[in-house]
């Protein structure tokens, strides 16, 4: 299954869980609304997928990405060159020269990291789609581990980040709910391909020079906390689908307090 088919499949992914967690209305607007608009990939998303391809499936890279020539489109010659390029590019994703250089550096640094290079050199499969039925809610679920070692024994996820330090990546885990991903994927391999994922490992590479790389394995606490949240989200989604109601935030006045972490 290619990435477009994966995204089009209505089974519940980790991104689906993120949307329902925000509010059912957000989920509806992104995935159910018959008049929804396709989401254009942001530059950050484009960078992320190009890096994934270059690191994990380099043989597919040229078929999916192409680097734009640096031409002045205001001149006649420049415009002709650009038109020729657009024709050649077809439906490949166009990267700027700078983006192309950036992902090369990032990929290089990933391969220069001892643990990352080790993990990526093991017998593994990139970008495999896994589907299963959630035993609690009966919802059809899906996930797509970046890199799966020993048929699911170790799951590896490549992340681009501003700050790959332990504290920096902890913040990313909280903002982007990577614990939910770790739990959802771990379950995916258990129910989908009957494998026992012993590790869920993040390879984090910074987006700016020196493109520092760090590799983190999730603790059991991360997985169990993520699993609780995933359960809550799945349950909420199942209810919304059953009732066909997609509420947003509260329609009353709610009090607001400072976040817990600022209380001390």
């Amino acid at each position: 299954m290619d990435i477009a088919a994966y995204h089009a499949d209505p089974a519940v992914s980790k991104s689906h869980l993120d949307q329902i967690a925000r509010s059912p209305l957000h989920y509806w607007s992104r995935y159910v609304d018959p008049n929804r608009e396709l989401i254009e990939p942001t530059p950050a998303m484009r960078l992320g997928s190009a890096l994934h391809c270059l690191v994990l499936e380099p043989e597919l890279f040229d078929g999916q990405f192409i680097t734009a020539p640096a031409v002045d489109r205001r001149t006649k010659a420049g415009k002709a060159e650009w038109d020729a390029f657009t024709a050649e590019a077809g439906n490949r994703t166009v990267l700027s020269v700078d983006e192309r250089a950036q992902i090369s550096r990032m990929a290089e640094q990933v391969w220069c990291h001892k643990a990352a290079a080790y993990l990526l050199s093991q017998d593994g499969k990139a970008e495999q789609t896994i589907k299963w039925q959630d035993p609690e809610t009966g919802l059809e679920c899906k996930c797509r581990p970046d890199w799966m070692i020993n048929s699911g024994q170790i799951l590896v996820d490549l992340k681009t980040t501003e700050d790959a330090s332990p504290a920096g990546f902890q913040r990313s885990m909280a903002s982007y709910r990577y614990h939910v991903q770790a739990a959802h994927y771990t379950r995916g391999v258990r129910h989908g391909i009957a494998a026992d994922a012993e590790q869920f490992i993040f390879i984090c590479v910074e987006k700016k020079p020196p493109y520092a790389v760090a590799v983190y394995a999730s603790t059991q606490l991360v997985i169990s906390a993520g699993a609780r949240i995933a359960d809550r989200d799945l349950l909420r989604l199942a209810e919304c689908r059953a009732n066909k109601t997609w509420p947003s935030y509260s329609d009353q006045i709610e009090t607001i307090d400072l976040p817990k972490w600022i209380n001390d």
Partner: protein
């Protein structure tokens, strides 16, 4: 061409002198001191800084080849314990000392996965044109493309590979059996990928995994990145 960057033999019989350090204590001492001086210099690549032992070995290589020691240090890398020359350096050595008339030249055809590069030279003694062609299909089949440089600068990598191959075939004496950095990297990436089937991970705990990582070969590209990413001396922070 100035004396400092010309690749010319310092004297006609360097090989005889280059082994003297094995039997002559004073000679050994002297080379060791020179090695220490280079190791203390910030003008040698970072992988030689603070490593007098490595500088010592590199100086041996320089003497063997009869090239300027600084030039040798700039162009020798160590990958998984094997010293190698940058392909550029190997090519310039072959151009100046090899059996060819004129320098090695290249032609390329095809694009993307069909890219093929041919390195050519003419042997002076016979006038025979010799060539070696390397293509992306071979790079993929041999597993070299795991090295991201085959994506970022494929033609350059194929030029390096075809030329070093040509040198290895027609004038192996120029490199005296040493490999080029690029060959070593490619071999290393291949070894890394081949390890796949041989030693499956048996890591139920993170400690197991980290132990295996500690035992693994260092990643191929590390040394290259150090040599290539060194900032120019024009970087203000480096001068002051």
């Amino acid at each position: 061409m100035t004396e400092s960057n010309a690749i010319t033999r310092a004297n006609s019989e360097p090989a005889a002198g280059s082994l003297a350090y094995l039997t002559d204590a004073a000679c050994f001492e002297h080379i060791w001191r020179v090695g220490k001086a280079f190791a203390a210099s910030r003008m040698v690549p970072t992988h030689f800084q603070g490593k007098p032992e490595d500088c010592f070995v590199a100086l041996q290589m320089a003497m063997q080849l009869g090239v300027n020691p600084l030039l040798a240090l700039q162009n020798i890398t160590v990958i998984s314990g094997r010293p190698g020359f940058n392909a550029q350096f190997a090519i310039s050595l072959a151009n100046q000392r090899g059996p060819f008339t004129g320098p090695i030249t290249w032609s390329s055809k095809g694009k993307g996965n069909d890219l093929a590069v041919t390195a050519k030279a003419v042997i002076a003694a016979t006038g025979e044109q010799v060539e070696v062609t390397v293509d992306m299909g071979m790079a993929v089949a041999e597993g070299w493309t795991r090295n991201p440089k085959y994506k970022s600068i494929p033609e350059q990598m194929l030029r390096y590979r075809s030329a070093t191959w040509l040198i290895r075939l027609y004038c192996p004496e120029v490199l005296m059996g040493f490999s080029s950095t690029e060959e070593l990297q490619d071999m290393n990436t291949v070894q890394r990928t081949e390890v796949k089937d041989v030693t499956p991970v048996k890591a139920s705990t993170l400690d197991d995994l980290n132990q295996q990582i500690a035992k693994a070969e260092p990643p191929a590209a590390t040394e290259v990145v150090i040599t290539q990413d060194e900032p120019d001396a024009t970087d203000a922070d480096d001068i002051f």
